[in-house]
């Protein structure tokens, strides 16, 4: 006993160091720390309100780009609307969704954002009180942005598409082949699309959209366009460089997507997995 006390007294600095370093690293390596330690991210009230105040001031300087973006989006939506109201083009399948619609969109403002880290996050000025929850997708007027990974009462933290752990099932709009979108950490303008088989025809300029396999985003939301498609001969897959349509440097307003049928879908899938494991 005496020996232990003597040891600590002699090496208290090293012991202190090990304790603090261990604490720090436990934060780093804790899986999904957002679930447990919601305080330590930019959704907490200190960092959140700090970013919000700063954004309230600086957002005035981006009003013009913001307006242009919204006007372009309005034009696109008007065109889509015209297409849908044209009864000859209306889908024949009857809508069986009890909610009448599957996806609900909430507008939120980006109050903080980065593009130069290996793991980029975005902070939004909407939180639990506005119905934002973890796992919801975030899109901009021009494409996919990321996914909500943490919420406080009034703020939300979004894992940007520019994050080393981000993955999304994507497909070629033309042809419909499926692949996976990831980010390589080098350039905020480009992402990587893999697992598209070489049997598919891929040309520069082809549009990449979300597949709708996950419950985060509706099917067909634009991700980017093919910049360069290189075949990997030994693996029979393409490596496709994708130019992202979202300008991550200039994010202003975004939409948070909630899938109203998410629980139904995930429950069904979980039960099916369980039933399969039981056998």
């Amino acid at each position: 006993m005496y020996g232990i006390i003597a040891f600590f007294r002699r090496h208290y600095f090293a012991v202190l160091f090990v304790a603090l370093e261990f604490l720090s690293l436990s934060f780093v390596f804790r899986d999904n720390y957002y679930h447990q330690a919601g305080f330590f991210n930019s959704a907490n009230s200190v960092a959140g309100s700090f970013y919000k105040t700063y954004n309230d001031i600086t957002s005035y300087f981006h009003l013009k780009t913001e307006n242009t973006q919204l006007a372009e989006e309005n034009m696109r939506l008007h065109n889509n609307l015209a297409e849908i109201t044209d009864t000859t083009k209306r889908p024949k399948v009857p809508h069986t969704n009890p909610y009448g619609q599957q996806f609900n969109f909430t507008t939120a403002e980006v109050i903080d954002n980065s593009t130069n880290q290996a793991s980029n996050y975005i902070t939004l000025n909407m939180g639990k009180k506005q119905g934002i929850a973890e796992g919801m997708g975030v899109i901009s007027p021009s494409g996919i942005v990321g996914v909500v990974i943490g919420v406080s009462d009034h703020y939300a933290v979004v894992m940007s598409m520019l994050h080393k752990n981000y993955q999304l099932s994507a497909m070629l709009k033309k042809g419909g082949a499926f692949g996976t979108i990831t980010w390589k950490g080098d350039d905020y303008r480009y992402a990587l699309l893999s697992q598209i088989p070489m049997s598919e025809q891929v040309n520069a300029g082809d549009t990449i959209v979300s597949s709708g396999y996950s419950t985060m985003y509706p099917k067909g939301i634009t991700i980017g366009v093919v910049e360069k498609a290189e075949p990997i001969p030994t693996q029979y897959f393409y490596t496709i460089k994708v130019r992202l349509t979202t300008n991550f440097k200039k994010l202003g307003f975004v939409y948070v997507v909630s899938d109203l049928m998410k629980t139904e879908k995930t429950d069904l899938e979980e039960n099916a997995h369980k039933a399969n494991d039981g056998k």
Partner: protein
């Protein structure tokens, strides 16, 4: 004594703001990623109690992590740097010992001392930070290049900041 504390607190606030509002958004290259905020830690008194320094470093790292959403990364890097500080100081100690009035500034210790002291400390900090971030992500050499280039940019900014602070005083 009180004014020394006041100066340190003011430095903490100013350099946190510069880090979070400006440097976080500067996107020159993936390789240039300066973390100027550690200048606050580097400029704490040479004779400060090393355990106290360790705690301050931990708290400073956590504060940055909160704004960067990098929980624990900066804290781990700062704590490691703080642990090495007594050794670094001893290694670069001038002949005899540090004067009781010695401060870790260009004015007090000279440019070459600052370059070696800040260079070593910044390198240790960036080494831990970028390798933690790069786990299972980038290659060793890319990450090492990021550490070197970012360290140089951080040290450059530290020297610049000290020169600016010094000019304001005289």
């Amino acid at each position: 004594m009180i004014s020394e504390w006041g100066k340190n607190i003011a430095r903490f606030i100013v350099f946190m703001l510069i880090q979070v509002l400006i440097l976080k958004h500067i996107d020159l290259s993936r390789f240039i990623n300066p973390f100027l905020y550690i200048i606050f830690l580097l400029m704490l008194p040479i004779r400060m109690d090393k355990s106290l320094f360790l705690f301050i470093a931990f708290a400073t790292g956590l504060t940055i992590d909160m704004f960067y959403n990098t929980m624990g990364y900066n804290a781990a890097a700062c704590v490691f740097m703080a642990y090495c500080r007594p050794r670094v100081l001893r290694f670069y100690a001038p002949k005899g010992e540090y004067d009781t009035s010695a401060k870790p500034t260009i004015q007090s210790m000279g440019l070459s001392w600052i370059l070696s002291y800040a260079g070593t400390m910044v390198f240790l900090h960036h080494l831990v930070l970028f390798f933690l971030e790069a786990l299972s992500f980038s290659s060793f050499f890319t990450t090492f290049a990021i550490v070197i280039v970012s360290s140089i940019s951080t040290v450059g900014l530290i020297v610049l900041s000290q020169l600016i602070m010094q000019r304001r005083r005289t």
